[in-house]
Subunit: 322 residues, 4 copies
């Protein structure tokens, strides 16, 4: 595994290697009464590390960050950071509505020793692009950890402007971007603009787990795949093929993972939200693979039933993971 | 004025008077370094009570709840509840993304002795209608204070289903609704359905501050007007005219308040978000009227500049409020 | 019935009475092979006139204008205009994507002698507010008939700016507005601004058929109720009560019509679009009332089945219309 | 150039080569008084053919189909089909709101001898997925030309369901898809599902002109690039590199075209719609390159001014196209 450092924006401004490779957003296993299942969580972290990932991202959307009370968040950050102990960089999501609330989360994560914090545009409020820039700028200035912007319009209902991102990166305020827009043309435009500007300390990570080979071909530095929870070895292999320039093998691995991804359709859209179905399927797969104890998701998400669990099981078998 | 109690869902199931009248969502004055300005906050509360309001709603959208860290929220709840001391019912917003996080806020507010908590549909996540119902049901069951649902699609990007609301109300789980959809036809449909079902303990409050006379004519129990911060006397007068059946006077008062509402357009949409302009205008007006010390709004909102402040001043003068 | 003229923007600029009262958007009865059923259409027109309406609007959304080929549209315009022969004003929808296409429809309608044409913002394209203004301006300048703007965000996915509308009205380019935004606060703001500006030749008609009493109280000139197809007498009575200042009776009539409106929920949202259910219910009700021959709607709309038809029948019986 | 036939759905059901390669959506040059500039149009067609394209698509979004009256559309179809005379397949957009209107356009195009018609989901109306399927099914059954579905959510505000598309393809009702969703993960999922099902007569064409190399790597059959109007040679070269498996060269050509694409940002978003800026830039570039006479776009689009035209010129020079 290529261990990488996420310290792009150091005080001295020296350019250091930016975050690269496979950085899964780690699921948060829960007990049946909705407490953090720390044993399962650390087993999942070990499973990821054994799978060859290059970093970890806790308290992201796939971690059910939006569902976790602050006390749960603190447990996750403290236990994972202590457990990983610097083997790989660990990013922490500071997901909340606006600046002062985000800063509360970000400072706690920085104090705990994370490698970077991940922040979206404000949500719930209706925010002007100039205010989104102020938001990121203020968080970057008032938090010690490197800042990664998180472009997630499906959750926050606005987009991050690329010119703004590159402006903040040029000022040393942004260490990178997690792009979960699903817009690969936009991703390419950003990467070309970054490279044309000679910006070397700005990591571009894609959250589009079904076009990772394309993203890496286009110059992305890494991937944050929710599905990586279930099959970290697959994403590590895909990344290795890409680094070796073997796009044929990379494409085949990506197609295998695409077929595996169909577990997220376990439940019909008439019965639960797409999020519940996807997070429920990830956790069900991890339980079936023996990595975590319970497939419990936080309320108000609806759990997968037996039929839906069987659907996940069949796909895991077809993918050679059971 | 008839002080009213917000205890619709008592353990014994007895029907008690539901919340009615003018219940302004109280702005949260801030100091220049973004702490709660408690002196100004309590002066604003007194201003509202002197204006004749029937209840108060703290930690709503107009209170910048989305911008306030938990510590700020606690200060607001504790100080306002202690200060009001039962003179009028005080509702508290428990605004957060999902169930467990909302419950944290809700229990704190209940312990502090609020008259009800106000809860939206989940946001940031993509939530199915069945999950929205589970959310409200779980909060109602696990929190002691009466629950008011808050329909606010502009912030949470989903709507509350009316059949679901009336189902929960019939089970004694919902004490009322704050409707901020801006859809007066939907509001009327809900009120007619409620009355046809003989549901007497379910308060319907409109958040549409420019059609309050219409809402009251249609059977709404009260109004939660953001603009009430600036002119509580106006809304109290409007409500009194409506109770007296004097729709002519009620309409005239409403039109006066509509012209006053134009302060929210102080700033151009090219310069800041609509939210910043509105909240900035409310606070600027309160400062100009001598009620609060600073017009500071929380980051990342952009403050009104001098030209925009003058715009607010001119409208206040025209409305006879300066 | 107060016959009214829709000739607000005369060459000489003289102010004439603008369009007022009840102006139903006339359904377009079809034969089983999807031709215009002219006999039923003219019977429906007579039914409306006998019901006491003040004008007619053909080729609106409730007329299935989006589903009718140009040949069908021509038949509707020619036959209705000839049949009405000036008894009441007849507006014609010129509904198409952009300016040149709209002008084709508008000129045909003007040549046929309509009292006004009704035009939305461009759709399918992504259009800037400045381009929406250009669109309305160009249509107004190049078409002889008075122009009514049609604000219908649910169909065209943009809103008409009120300042722009009043600017065009002040220049004599706009005779009125059909507001189908469902935003009664916005409607009131427009009416107050119009009246404050002293604009007398600009008719504001609401398309919100469940808050007509409110709209008339706020100063709207009339209503374009889709449900008026089924019960024109009800809307005429509601309008008469409002003109007499009897808001108590107006409210009661509006609530009766609100209960009747529930026919539009005949079909579940899982089975067909809301539009199909509503238009199918209007036509089914008209067939059950003996006004039109077939309840056929144009493809690809799904027709109501027997259960859904029974649902409509029961509501009609409850409303005293069968 | 591999001339290809677009006759996937023959009466006998025999599998024939589906449409492949570069199929630009041909701009519609206009005169200053908004008539079709036929001389320029045919010169543009010749420019495309000389550039090495594999097919042409007239009356698509880039052709300003939404802005062209029926008479203009007829001129375009008749003149282009006669001019091309079978050298390459010519697809024709039958873009209109609903089934009967689409059928009018589709039949005219089929009579004129096109190789296929291209049809979106209904728009303006609110259409249920079952109704979208009925729409495509009915058009396919009642029009002689092969049918291509056009997935364009930015214009029609709904998406085409992939299971439905493959179901229609399996029945021989659909010859292909133009995917303009910008969602490359979804595109890949569709292609994998198509190939897993062994569906060989269903062409998948991407409209995402900045990730064409990726789409071809993933198994797409071709591309419909609006920017191909300006640089058909570039897209033909990109396609040739891809067919040869030279992804390195394909990527470099795609990046060159990405930089060229920035002409669409010639005008600021505050001055005109994104569509006007893009179509205006394409036409301005074609005028500067001497292919068409005027850069005129149809109303209500705002034309590029001198500064914006200079911006386009500079990018063309940088790209080696002037």
């Amino acid at each position: 595994m290529t261990s990488t450092a996420a310290t792009a924006a150091t005080p001295a401004g020296t350019l250091v290697p930016a975050l690269t490779g496979v950085v899964p957003p780690v699921c948060t296993p829960l007990t049946p009464d909705f407490e953090v299942d720390v044993t399962s969580l650390l087993r999942l972290v070990d499973f990821q590390l054994a799978g060859g990932v290059d970093g970890l991202f806790v308290l992201g959307s796939s971690s059910e960050v939006a569902f976790l009370p602050d006390a749960h968040r603190a447990v996750v950050v403290d236990r994972v950071l202590r457990h990983v102990a610097g083997q790989v960089p660990v990013l922490v999501g500071a997901i909340d509505m606006t600046t002062l609330r985000v800063l509360d989360h970000a400072r706690r994560a920085a104090r705990a020793g994370c490698s970077g914090i991940v922040v979206t545009a404000p949500f719930y409020t209706r925010t002007h692009p100039a205010e989104i820039e102020l938001h990121l700028r203020r968080v970057a200035e008032q938090c010690e950890a490197p800042l990664y912007a998180y472009d997630l319009p499906v959750s926050v209902h606005s987009n991050l402007d690329h010119d703004m991102l590159l402006r903040l990166a040029a000022e040393g305020l942004l260490a990178g971007l997690k792009d979960s827009t699903g817009d690969d043309a936009g991703l390419r435009d950003l990467i070309v603009a970054r490279d044309d500007a000679g910006l070397t300390g700005f990591s571009v990570l894609t959250g589009s787990e079904l076009t990772v080979d394309n993203a890496l071909r286009m110059g992305a530095d890494g991937v944050v795949p929710g599905l990586g929870n279930v099959d970290p070895h697959g994403y590590a292999a895909l990344h290795a093929h890409a680094r070796a320039g073997d796009w044929e093998q990379a494409g085949r691995e990506q197609e295998r993972l695409l077929r595996l991804m169909r577990i997220v359709r376990a439940a019909p859209a008439s019965r639960m939200g797409r999020g519940s179905s996807a997070l429920g399927a990830f956790k069900t797969a991890l339980r079936l693979r023996g990595v975590i104890e319970h497939a419990v998701t936080a309320p108000p998400q609806i759990p997968l039933d037996d039929t839906e669990t069987d659907y996940v099981r069949r796909i895991l078998i077809a993918a050679g993971l059971l």
